[in-house]
Amino acid sequence: MTTWLMGISVALLLCLGAALWRVWRGPTDADRLMAAQLVGTGAVGVTLPLAAVTDWGALDMALVLVLLAGFVAVVFVKYVRFRASNNQGDNR
């Protein structure tokens, strides 16, 4: 079980590494940002089996990661991309 769960963590770590290619490539900033999101989700995915294998206290770190996961996207849309109009893409 321990080896299996560590193996899952290793595989997820490799997926996380693959996302870095998308950060490098782009082509838009949104692509890079969503690759960063994947890194965040992937990090949580890596941490959970690690917590099961070593110390369940590591769940607190995953909790903190996931609380802050949405932040970078929020800052991105507010400060880095000033939207021209309020109704862009909004179909309410």
Partner: protein, 325 residues
């Protein structure tokens, strides 16, 4: 569901854990390299954020959960917000340009950085394993008042360092505020942007902060017996407050308001007060073992509030009523 945990026969995971660490180290190096390469600033910032996440995992693998918590909150969260906010500000002012240092300077930098890394690695490999103070701390843990040795060291045995650090944070905030223009002094923190309200963002800022508040207080409370503490909890609270401000549900606080200044000063002030009362009854900054736990938790609670407020104001920046031309 299940009763007690039964320890399995020890299956040795020989290769898998070093494999994990190896891949993690390679990713950290690759991300660090990618962050300083290329001319696109946004890409470098994103790589830096990814770097923070990977370093947090490295701390986890090293068994330093308290540091991993801080790294996850600050390195992966607040630093990213800070850098992206700065990037947005620079774009708004039209001042984005990749630096134009000469190639030889960069090569020299690369070589010296590599040299330092190699030197540290060589020292780590060749020097004997240090004994450390863990045994000494563990023997004194009973009079410390808390079970988490990290908190015991930070808030009791070496409380002097933590007191100074909280004051340093305060000084940094004053430094950032002093960047404001004369006419902006005392105004609301941060760049005033007239952003249209977004319902998605609004609902996010209504759902997440209560959970974040709970987790933040939990981290401070649990910090006495398991990894956690004032800094970790305060950072999470700062992030939640930032979210509310960024979604437009709350105006950024006025830098000149008494309430803001009081909250920011409260943590270090309480810490200092406890230290001084210790001086009256014996030595400066000693906690009597009988009241140690209560005092530590009290200090941590006020520190949490101050750290949350200070970090939030640091990320928001100095008050700026209009973009400088």
């Amino acid at each position: 569901m299940k009763s007690e945990s039964v320890t399995q026969a020890k299956k040795q995971p020989d290769m898998i854990e070093p494999l994990f660490d190896l891949i993690l180290s390679a990713l950290i190096l690759a991300t660090a390299l990618a962050a300083v390469t290329g001319r696109q600033v946004f890409r470098s910032v994103i790589f830096f954020i990814v770097y923070g996440v990977l370093i947090a995992m490295a701390w986890l693998r090293l068994g330093a959960l308290d540091v991993a918590l801080v790294e996850a909150a600050i390195g992966a969260g607040l630093t990213g917000v800070l850098l992206l906010g700065a990037l947005g500000r620079l774009k708004h002012l039209g001042q984005i340009s990749a630096t134009s240092l000469s190639i030889w300077f960069r090569v020299a930098m690369a070589f010296s950085a590599a040299g330092v890394s190699l030197g540290i690695s060589w020292a780590f490999i060749t020097l004997p394993e240090p004994v450390g103070l863990q045994a000494a701390v563990n023997t004194q843990l009973t009079i410390a008042g808390v079970e988490n040795p990290v908190t015991a060291v930070l808030l009791n045995f070496r409380a002097w360092d933590t007191l100074l650090e909280s004051v340093v944070l305060l000084v940094a905030l004053i430094g950032v505020w002093s960047l404001a223009q004369n006419e902006d002094w005392g105004m609301r923190a941060g760049l005033t942007t007239h952003s249209p309200s977004d319902e998605v963002l609004t609902s996010f800022a209504q759902i997440l902060p209560p959970v974040g508040l709970l987790v933040g207080v939990y981290l401070v409370w649990a910090g006495s017996s398991q990894p956690g503490g004032a800094f970790q909890g305060g950072t999470v609270l700062a992030a939640m407050a930032l979210l509310i401000v960024m979604a437009g549900l709350m105006a950024p606080p006025r830098v000149g308001s008494t309430a803001v200044r009081l909250i920011v000063v409260l943590g270090p002030a309480v810490f200092l007060a406890v230290a001084l009362t210790g001086a009256l009854s014996g030595q400066f900054l000693t906690l009597p073992p009988a009241m140690a736990k209560a005092l530590i938790l009290g200090i941590e609670l006020f520190l949490m509030l101050s750290i949350a407020a200070t970090l939030m104001l640091l990320v928001l920046g100095p008050p700026e009523s209009k973009a400088k031309q």
